[in-house]
Amino acid sequence: MKGIGAANSAPSKEIVIDAPQIAENGAVVPIEISSNIPGTSSLAVVLEKNPFPLAAKFDFMEGAAPFVKLNVKMAETADVRVVATAGGRHYSATREIKVTIGGCGG
């Protein structure tokens, strides 16, 4: 967590988290993230209640857009935090995703 600067990040509305508010199954939670902050060089996905909160970190070189879509696992309803790094500074945004039980449960 230290390496991605989540602790001293500034909230930013320029980070877009596109995810369903409710996930029918915690094993597959689709998340699409992108940053409109100029010079964004990395995006990290932090799942706040997971045993290993840092789900993934993406470093973007010149020529790659700060955009990624992926599926993550969430054991329970929790906040998803996205930390963007641009020009050595850290920015973040969060979004709560509710994890429910889908089918017969049998």
Binding site: A27, V28, V29, E32, L47, N50, P51, F52, P53, L54, A55, A56, K57, F58, D59, F60, M61, E62, G63, A64, A65, F67, V68, K69, L70, N71, V72, K73
Partner: protein, 97 residues
């Protein structure tokens, strides 16, 4: 032995959308099975690394990623490689369509 991968790279309004599928169990420490997950992913355009990712066991089984590369032209070569915590790896190449 690594399972199959699949990738599509298509031009879409000024950028190249790359969608890549990987066969991998992505087992967690909680599952009771040996920890086995992809750790590193690299996306290259014509041999040059544009995206480097560090991934954890919190990524779902059989990972699917979409990335966007600025520009790109038909026929450009996209290559995606992954490496897991057991040292296994796999690679796929495709041309932008």
């Amino acid at each position: 032995m690594a399972g199959p991968m699949k990738m599509r790279a298509t031009l879409a309004g000024g950028y190249t959308e790359v969608r890549v599928l990987m066969t991998h169990p992505m087992t967690t420490a909680q599952s009771g099975q040996p920890l086995h997950f992809i750790q590193n992913i690299t996306v290259k355009l014509n041999g040059k690394a544009l995206i480097e990712a560090e991934v954890s066991q919190a990524v779902s089984r059989n990972p699917v990623f979409s990335f966007r590369l600025k520009g790109g032209a038909k026929g450009d070569k996209i290559e995606v490689t992954w490496l897991d915590n057991k040292g296994e790896s796999n690679k796929i190449e495709t041309a932008v369509a």
